[in-house]
Point group: D2
Chain length 293, copies 4
């Protein structure tokens, strides 16, 4: 016999841009450029088993709510938006007991003197995921995506075990590059009161500063340095999860061409790549509950 | 104070192609075209905290092992390869207590009469993930990725709740399209003895047949139909997880141009899209353990 | 002083799916799944210089015409559709003297017994580009995109010049893989009368057969073999342009691991890749005119 | 009978990173992060017709030359690199009479105080293409790719012709967004002496300033404004080609939800999109020759 297990449904990648005219400190516009995804869970067995949709709020309605809420709330931080949206679905749909809202925010930099002109800041994708559960409460996980960083030196890799398949040379000087994918979980108290934009700015600054300041013997060491710096710098958060691809830059062997390569010429390889994943927590981090689901 | 939590590391997207010459039933070559990713866990605190790499088998060595093992094992099913690879890392590296190996297999169709010529079967990406843990044992999850299917009719969507943001019309006839992403977990007993290729073929056949044969009132209903058909048809598996994007094909309103549109002209929209995720289990499915981590 | 040079504008990537119900030989549906792009040229200086749009048919209207024409014409070959669409814009808009219409057609394979169920044939992207010019007449270029093919042997590469930067070893046996991107120009007479679908099928068949049957010493030789086979097999066409990436599959050096590699284990590299581009023409090919613009 | 027409071959997407240590004004490192592609033409009939490779410098050798030249030249502007590389192939290979070299340069911004730490500037892809022909001489075309810009207002679109398929409303206020793809051809005299980096900086500045400062009635008008500003501001160049996708941001109709939408909530659509392509030239622009081939 067969049964339905955990499930959820929603609308993915709703691309909403909210403009607030003339409210920037310099009198210009503020824009929030978002990619919003919703996922609802609850008493949904009927639609799976019989196609009875009486408890299935259409994903089209969820999309409409995103647009309407963006109108009502203004150009607010994505965390505030996601919190309100998640709470709305659980409060208004009896069958729905849990909502997961995720938002990607794309950055824009003002240009010119118009107050309404912007250039896309390609290096800045800010993320947030809110899970609102009728029983378990509400969690907020925010983060940053694909922030590509590189140290041309200041990294070594040696002292590793050598098995029958190890041909890699040890190195006291390598280029270290990665795309930082980091997510930080807010403490329950902070969910009520955090200054989301300030945390986002501080987190990005911490990542850049730490990456530059950390001399490493492994990418794992960088991961821990980034995570612990974030947890230490930001009392609002209690846990950081990082995924750091090792974007390999190999030194090119120029000897066959009669040239030395004194750490000057590298090639950037696509695949395969190392991938380092890890979690850094405050010692007093409360249980994560549904935050990462 | 701060601590390191769960972590893993490995080499991602190792693109290995294994040819076995002349062993196909018709005397032609057999090829296995794989994208292999490794992830090892264990006693790795030192490298995170101090950069001491004495327990960190380089990801380069992991890559080399993939190539060597492909040589040794031949053009075997990806599940057999992943099982052997995962067991190898845990057995040979004292610090490593868990290995997660995932493989994407790209399909090729023989062409011509040479026995060595092939065309890439773009619609066939077969997947497998093996988790081998020193304590918890071994799991196998296999699946299929982005198998895009479409019914031009045979689907309705109505009877859903209408809230303040619902503008969607009910429909008794819609086009239904999705990209099937499905993963099935093997029963522990089957991990010892499954005919992996036979299951993969049977699963794909079951998906195609069920998709065509199922008249639906919601995509959730299709999800359950696919999952329960797989669990029923394949005694080797006990759980199926599916993620089905609703690849919306909207009927175009041609009335402004004086034309009727009797289910003839649709436009395929990219974003946003519905996303239906769910699990279907056998009633006697054992605990999943680490299978989905 | 500054002037405006050649220019064009239109709507790109209009994703239209045309269903013709019950007209397949077996009584099932026929579907045409297209990605249509339009580009119009003509007397358009005003909009560039002053923003006067009195001659600028909106790209939104162009899109609407695509949907309306798909309704009117039915599930016809993409060449017929593009010819009609291009002629329409030039005939109906006085300022427009040239239209360029391109269509990508995605293939679908019937599944099950419903007559309305299909699986996407991922390996089949058929293309066509029609240029209709009020003065110069009409051209049709059709083709195929990213048809990935592989010979596990039957290819050598040696006898090349060795300069100061040549380290490549000669080989009498290599794996040869490419993604065939080919476009064929129809003769003017054929534009009036070609059986477009038949040519598309024959061209694809010719490519597969030729790729399998051709023993090569260079990818250039394969390019010429493919092009000349097409020109020879299809009297309707007079010119073929091909772009063949050399999808490198390098033999892995397993000697460090005490293993031989008798043409068994390869790795598929992404970048860099060789790229071979060339044209093959019938001796009596008429001038291409605007066909490739 | 069949013949070979124009053709070329080379290595595409060679990802070379050149570091020059300590040479930045502040004593830090300078890096050039490039994606280099080569394409050689000449007396190459033999390899196409018979597989005789005696005139075919391997693409692997071309790649090696890229690395060696990066070593020899240092962290120079990509134009200087491409000029030297193109000249080298034509000078050193008797059969090769033309070389086309294209380079994408990815930008990096220094971070921290190390002098060796950088963050990828995701919004900055600089391009150059050099064609060096033994007979026709040398051309340089440089540019910028996917610089995404947006005006939240300052754009109208009205006064266009309305045909049977026109349903679009006129607007006196729309959001205008595009990804600027622009290439500028240098005058022959400038090829000898241009300050490439200075032109690149000035061109980007001109694009940003012009985009912000230009009130538009059509995207074509913006195209001409950008092109003419570039040709006017930069005496080194004589021609600009632009491709501007209209990244549609549609105002959302919130009336069904009882809300007004006073230019506040937009959705960003992916496909279809308008595409405006055009050329702006100096009146005295010399013939382009092979520059754009």
């Amino acid at each position: 016999m067969v049964q339905i297990g955990s499930n959820r449904y929603g609308k993915s990648e709703i691309r909403v841009v909210r403009v607030a005219r003339g409210v920037a400190p310099d009198g210009g516009d503020v824009i929030r450029d978002w990619n919003v995804s919703t996922a609802l869970s609850g008493d949904l067995d009927d639609t799976h088993l019989t196609g009875d949709n009486s408890k299935v709020l259409p994903t089209d309605s969820q999309k409409n709510r995103v647009f309407a809420l963006a109108s009502e709330m203004g150009a607010v931080p994505p965390e505030d938006f996601a919190l309100a949206l998640a709470a709305f679905f659980v409060a208004s749909q009896e069958a729905i007991t849990r909502a997961r809202i995720s938002v990607e925010e794309f950055g824009w930099t003002p240009i010119g003197a118009t107050g309404y002109s912007f250039a896309r800041a390609g290096d800045l994708v800010r993320t947030t995921t809110v899970v609102h559960d009728a029983t378990a409460g509400t969690s907020v996980v925010s983060g940053i995506k694909d922030l590509t960083l590189l140290n041309t030196t200041g990294s070594e890799f040696w002292g590793f075990p050598r098995d029958a398949h190890t041909t890699l040379a040890e190195t006291k000087d390598r280029m270290l590059a990665t795309a930082v994918n980091a997510s930080w979980r807010f403490r329950p108290a902070a969910v009520e009161s955090a200054d989301w934009d300030a945390v986002a700015v501080a987190a990005q600054r911490t990542i850049l500063d730490t990456f530059a300041a950390t001399y490493t013997y492994s990418l794992q060491q960088m991961l821990y340095a980034l995570g612990s710096a974030l947890v230490t710098a930001l009392p609002q958060i209690c846990e950081v999860r990082l995924a750091l691809p090792n974007k390999h830059h190999f030194i090119v062997d120029l000897e066959p061409f009669g040239l030395e390569n004194e750490r000057e010429v590298y090639y950037a390889d696509d695949r395969p790549y190392g991938l380092i994943e890890g979690t850094v927590l405050a010692d007093d981090a409360p249980d994560a509950g549904l935050a990462w689901t």
